[in-house]
């Protein structure tokens, strides 16, 4: 297509996915965990678009999926922020280590 084989784009999206995963495991802040989740979702978006462009150029399903994922991600981010704000009100901190009430 554009001279770039599909596997390069997939390399990009996979790397982005695992960067987001690393952030999810490591970050102690709930909001930064949310940011890492956004990175993961974006990597999936890249995947869909690339597959649509390279493998199925006559169809548009990849685009639709991407649009829907963006939409849902927005809604999810909003709800997550609301939860974080509620959590902040009770714990006065957004450190995820402080929310250990579900311990044995």
């Amino acid at each position: 297509m554009n001279g770039i084989p599909l596997s390069h784009i997939l390399f990009l999206s996979t790397a982005l996915f695992f960067i987001g995963t690393y952030g999810l495991f490591t970050r102690r802040n709930t909001i930064t965990m949310l940011m890492s989740i956004e990175l993961i979702l974006n990597s999936v978006n890249i995947n869909f678009v690339a597959f649509n462009k390279y493998l199925y150029p006559d169809k548009l399903e990849g685009v639709f999926f991407t649009l829907f994922i963006i939409t849902i991600a927005a809604a999810e981010a909003a709800v997550a922020i609301a939860i974080i704000i509620n959590l902040y009100r009770s714990h006065h901190s957004i450190d995820v280590e402080d929310t250990g009430e579900m311990k044995y």
């Binding site: 890492s36 974006n42 649009l67 922020i81 902040y88």
Partner: protein, 172 residues
């Protein structure tokens, strides 16, 4: 190496670099800004792939909406400006190893697979095509998910309000 290849590699490096910085930096506000850059880079990638509509949606919704929302919440929780707490070193090492292992596994699979493109004439991803296709009731239409998505957004909106509302104590 053609110019578009160079553009792609620069974009890829930009996206990954800023993404990495977003998850490792110490200051939270900077992390949000690095995220912003990363998302913009992804929008650029969409432009490079000639999917202009998606790129526009990305910028409008993700960059202009979600990142702004995140920054608002950072201000609301008075966490900006302070140095963030570092995770335990053991956790860092372990997570890095797990992630690298996962990446290696996945990329191995991808590398071994042969992707065969469908040999059909390309359909341009213009706004009119997307609109006609998505909202058609026949011919691979996605009308129903579209409507459901709107209901989901309504529900999410109401849910956010309910979760985040502050009940005023009586008698005040």
């Amino acid at each position: 190496m053609s110019a578009s290849a160079i553009v792609f590699y620069c974009l890829a490096a930009f996206i990954l670099g800023t993404g990495l910085l977003a998850v490792t930096t110490g200051k939270i506000f900077r992390s949000a800004i690095w995220l912003l850059f990363s998302l913009t880079g992804i929008a650029g990638l969409y432009f490079w792939l000639q999917m202009e509509f998606i790129a526009a949606v990305q910028i409008i919704v993700y960059v202009g909406g979600i990142v702004v929302l995140i920054i608002f919440s950072l201000f609301l929780t008075q966490a900006s400006g302070k140095e963030m707490l570092r995770p335990a070193p053991g956790r860092v090492v372990f997570s890095a190893l797990a992630v690298v292992a996962g990446f290696a596994l996945t990329f191995l699979l991808i590398h071994q697979h042969i992707f065969l493109p469908v040999a059909k004439p390309a359909l341009e991803a213009s706004v009119s095509n997307i609109g006609l296709q998505m909202l058609s009731t026949t011919e691979h239409g996605y009308l129903l998910p579209f409507e459901l998505a709107s209901m989901l957004l309504l529900a999410a909106m109401i849910g956010c309000i309910v979760i985040a509302i502050k009940i005023k104590p009586a008698g005040k």
